[in-house]
Symmetry: C2
Subunit: 443 residues, 2 copies
């Protein structure tokens, strides 16, 4: 079925197809609101995930629906957009078509025509080439990953409660977080708080406060995207919470009930641990490799494809690629090293939306420039680090900044209200209201 | 491993084991708070589900964590209780032990000793002996069932949006609810509102308002637990919402893409429908049959075992059985027909808690008597029926009563606040904030 079964959207002459409803794709679509174009947004999932708060779902502080908004609902008043749920499995650049699989009606190989294509596939975690570790060490990029982690963490405490053997019980109470970036730091801090605060008093046979939380980072400090002074502050804050930051250490094996960790001196220790959370080694979405192959371009070691400084694919001005899956190359050939953060993808998305509108008017658009508004990471209750244009803040003021920024970018007034309600309760009672173990995933 | 591996709880001499943390079991446990007994609550899940609102999760109005509270959290301040996650797979009445399987640490066949046992296993839906219908027609008794139904309903609209074939599209837009009790009526009303209000404007290719919602009930009216006048009011309210109530009709076959419905005159019509929701034919938990077999008792056609009017198992004064899985027989042999409702189970649970405390003091307890406080069912936005001690109310006053009663019985101040927030937004915007299609279940 190589016909455009999906046909046209709203029937305007310029057809823009946006692949991916994450931070970049959604901003591109929204910027196209006033444009006389026919926009189709394709995503595998029916919601936009506010990924920076996924770790709070993973520790039962928030409920999935509070950080995920239906794409249709976000775009309900933008009449020139339709949303299609599907997986993109092919690019035919000559025919200007993409191929869709796994449509909700069960169809496969459906084609969709475009005049302009925007690909924003995001990234996922690489397991350093060890895909066999994946089943033992779920990741936090997706909502399903977050729910899986929540089920595992809560079940581990349940298992420890009924486990008579001391060594086995200790392995149920040992949590290993791999990767000391913002996600890993936040995750480790939250597990420690869960064990020491939220769950205290809930169990009878175990002392949840005795749980071990190891944060393994290959570099010599956590949060390498921040200045060293803030990294060291973060490490001390983590230690206070009860996390053991193992900087200069590398995970060399992950099994069902243990993790092998190599220290800087080369010694390997096998740690009994039933719960491992993966937050290291980011790799571009496979869409980058597919698109690069179709365009005759190459991808780097992290799977990212190079785009020009107007964010188009070389040789294909009608195709934009943005977000974590690309690297921007200046016209002089130098690569702009942009971090894999939501603000980067959002600015790129808005740039692409503007660029498409400019083209319709026959105008050109100056090259994309990222405006760095700062970097934020939270460590636990009342603690965070912030690096805003060289101004370094830590502790409570940074934490308040973190709160305000995250609430501001969360989509939907209702979700903001619900999240504030949950956070207020958590702050006052140290409890976590969304501590469900789903049956299906626990099976 | 036939030893009591779990050992004692808090070490008091009287060991009370409560099986099931639903409405009945939880009330029994709470009533035992001041008693000098060692209580163990066993449940397969780590949360108490407020089942009367499960249909709102199934239509994306509420998020799972808003109607489910962790059992440990509910009981955190009751020092004489411990919670054990496990499935009960055997009763050894002679040794006064129950056998537990699927513990969170992977152990099986673990035994747990009791002096007094309370079994509150609840009920599930029977498929009229057609278990092959189950995969095509999920039920609303569990939280996982509700999430599965939510995924199916939302995916059906997504499928219709991309389906070019008229007949297939219509079958994606046809929803069949089997069973015209309160759950079926609420479910059908909510699907109609979802299609006509919440989703309107979200789709481009389909008119969601054209969705068909059929409510199939074998009896000659819906809500047979209510007086006929209220049933007829409910039917008219359903019709106004866009539901077609097929009273006097029976489902005779359920397939992946169609349902066969027999009318009162005996004619069978096959209706193309991709989404079928099961809310008929309640059967007792299999624990009733297991316990009855161990006690040498029998079960009725619905799988319920008979208990004496003090809610003990005949011949075993140390075992109480309560809730949907039992029928109470008076000392003169007459059966008390109690409906399978939360208030019945709650009153029975509290009675058992009191009875155990009385026994510790050497006191006897008069037979259990159910106090009927009335019957409520909601049909949609601003509409409900109520039958309180013969006073029949319908429309807005009944709906407000329904709201207040459900908020009152919901556990946890935080959840009440979150639910009120969601309901207020839904009422004002006609939207539904928890419309996620989970990836795992959609696969």
């Amino acid at each position: 079925m190589r016909r455009g079964v999906l046909g046209r959207g709203v029937g305007l002459s310029q057809r823009v197809v946006v692949v991916g409803g994450g931070f970049g794709g959604l901003q591109a679509v929204r910027k196209l609101r006033p444009a006389a174009v026919d926009v189709t947004l394709v995503d595998r999932q029916n919601f936009h995930l506010f990924q920076p708060l996924a770790y709070q779902v993973a520790t039962g502080a928030l409920s999935p629906a509070e950080i995920a908004v239906p794409l249709r609902w976000v775009l309900r008043r933008q009449a020139n957009v339709r949303v299609v749920l599907a997986e993109v499995t092919g690019f035919d650049l000559e025919r200007r078509q993409i191929v869709l699989d796994r449509l909700p009606n069960g169809r496969r190989g459906v084609t969709l025509d475009y005049d302009t294509l925007v690909v924003s596939g995001g990234s996922q975690y690489s397991y350093f080439g060890h895909d066999d570790w994946r089943p033992h060490a779920p990741e936090l990029k997706s909502l399903d990953g977050a729910v899986d982690i929540r089920n595992r963490i809560l079940s581990a405490f349940e298992a420890a409660e009924v486990e008579p053997d001391d060594d086995l019980r200790q392995s149920w109470l040992t949590f290993v977080v791999v990767g000391g970036g913002p996600t890993g730091v936040e995750m480790a801090g939250q597990i420690a708080e869960l064990a020491r605060d939220s769950l205290r008093g809930d169990f009878r046979a175990i002392d949840t406060g005795a749980a071990r939380v190891l944060l393994v980072e290959t570099a010599d400090r956590v949060l390498t995207g921040f200045p060293p002074s803030l990294s060291h502050k973060a490490e001390r804050a983590l230690e206070k919470l009860g996390v053991t930051p193992l900087v200069g250490h590398t995970v060399v094996d992950v099994g069902a009930d243990s993790v092998s960790i190599r220290s800087g001196s080369g010694e390997v220790e096998e740690v009994g641990a039933r719960t491992v959370i993966w937050a290291a080694g980011v790799a571009a979405s496979p869409l980058a490799a597919d698109l690069a192959a179709a365009a005759g371009a190459e991808v780097d070691r992290a799977g990212r494809m190079q785009v020009r400084e107007d964010l188009t694919v070389p040789g294909h001005p009608e195709i934009f690629a943005i977000g974590d899956m690309v690297q921007v190359a200046r016209s002089d050939g130098t690569i702009v090293a942009l971090p894999g953060l939501a603000p980067v993808a959002m600015q790129e998305g808005r740039y692409v939306g503007r660029a498409i509108r400019n083209r319709l008017r026959g105008d050109t658009t100056p090259p994309f420039r990222y405006v760095d508004k700062g970097n934020l990471a939270t460590i636990g209750r009342s603690k965070a680090v912030a690096d805003v244009k060289g101004i370094r803040v830590s502790g409570f003021p940074a934490w308040v900044t973190w709160l305000v920024v995250h609430l501001f970018y969360l989509i939907g007034f209702q979700n903001r209200l619900l999240v504030v309600t949950r956070w207020t309760f958590s702050f006052v009672t140290r409890g976590r209201g969304a501590r469900l173990i789903s049956e299906s995933a626990a099976d």
